[in-house]
Subunit: 115 residues, 2 copies
DNA sequence: ATATAGTACTATGCAATACATAGTACTAAG
DNA sequence: CTTAGTACTATGTATTGCATAGTACTATAT
C-alpha cells in the first residue's frame, strides 16, 4: 500500500521534465487546446492535471516555444489553441537527443555489470 | 546559449525520479559506496552531484530499500558501503515496469498521429 | 609537530515543477 | 434565472536535484 503510493510518487517525479517534451511532440503534429492535450496524454497513459498543464503551457509560451490563438468552440466557452513555433521545433529536436541520452544511460546502468 | 541552459535544466528535471531507479539498479549488482556510485553514474553519462546523492541514499535507507556498513578504505577515510534489501529489490522490479510504461508513453506520443 | 592534499560524508538553503485546490468565465439546457 | 458541462487562471504545497558550506579521516610534505 505504502509501496504503491511510493511508486506513484516516483512516477510523478519522473514526469518532471518529460511533460515539456511531450507537449512539444504533440503540437509538432498539429495545434491543440488544453483539454485536448490532456486527453491525448491520457490516451498514452501519461496522466496530467490542469494545475500542471496550464502553467507549463504558459511557461513554454513565455519562452517562445509556443503561440496560441482563441477559437470559438462548437458548444462551450472559447478555446485557446496552441501551436508550436520554429524555436519550439528546434527545442524539440534537442529534447529528442536528450531523451535518447537518458534512455541509453538507464540501459547501461540497468544491464551492464559494475566495475 | 540560453537554449542550452534550458536543455540542461530540462535534463535535470528529467533526472528527478530516475536517480532512485538508477541507484537501486547499480546496487542490485553489488555493494558500492557513494563516490563509486557517482563514478558509475558518470560513466553512464548520468551526472549527479554529492548534494543530490547523499540525501537520496539516506531517504532510501529510511524507506528500507538500502542498508549500509562501514568499511576501512585502502588509503583514506572509511567508506559507507550500501547494499540493496529485499524490499529494495521488490521496488526495483516495480520501477522496471514504471520505466517501461514511461518509455512506451513517450513512444506513442512522439510517433502516433493526433486524433 | 603542523600544514596540505586527497578522499569521504553531513547539513541545508534554493530552484524548478507536478499536483491539489479554489475560483472565474462561457455556452447550452432546464 | 439556475444548473451542468466545458475551458481557463491563480496559487500554495510537496518533492527532489543542485549549489554550497562544513566536518572528518588518512597520507604526504615541510
Amino acid at each position: 500500500m505504502n509501496q504503491e503510493i511510493n511508486t506513484d510518487n516516483v512516477k510523478a517525479q519522473m514526469r518532471k521534465g518529460i511533460l515539456e517534451y511531450s507537449i512539444l511532440s504533440i503540437l509538432s503534429k498539429g495545434d491543440e487546446y488544453a483539454s485536448s492535450l490532456i486527453k491525448i496524454l491520457k490516451d498514452a497513459s501519461m496522466i496530467v492535471v490542469e494545475g500542471t498543464l496550464y502553467p507549463l503551457l504558459t511557461r513554454q509560451k513565455n519562452q517562445g516555444l509556443l503561440n496560441y490563438r482563441w477559437e470559438e468552440s462548437p458548444q462551450g466557452p472559447p478555446r485557446k489553441y496552441y501551436s508550436i513555433t520554429d524555436k519550439g521545433r528546434e527545442m524539440l529536436s534537442e529534447l529528442d537527443v536528450t531523451w535518447k541520452e537518458i534512455i541509453d544511460s538507464i540501459e547501461i546502468i540497468r544491464n551492464t555489470p559494475n566495475q
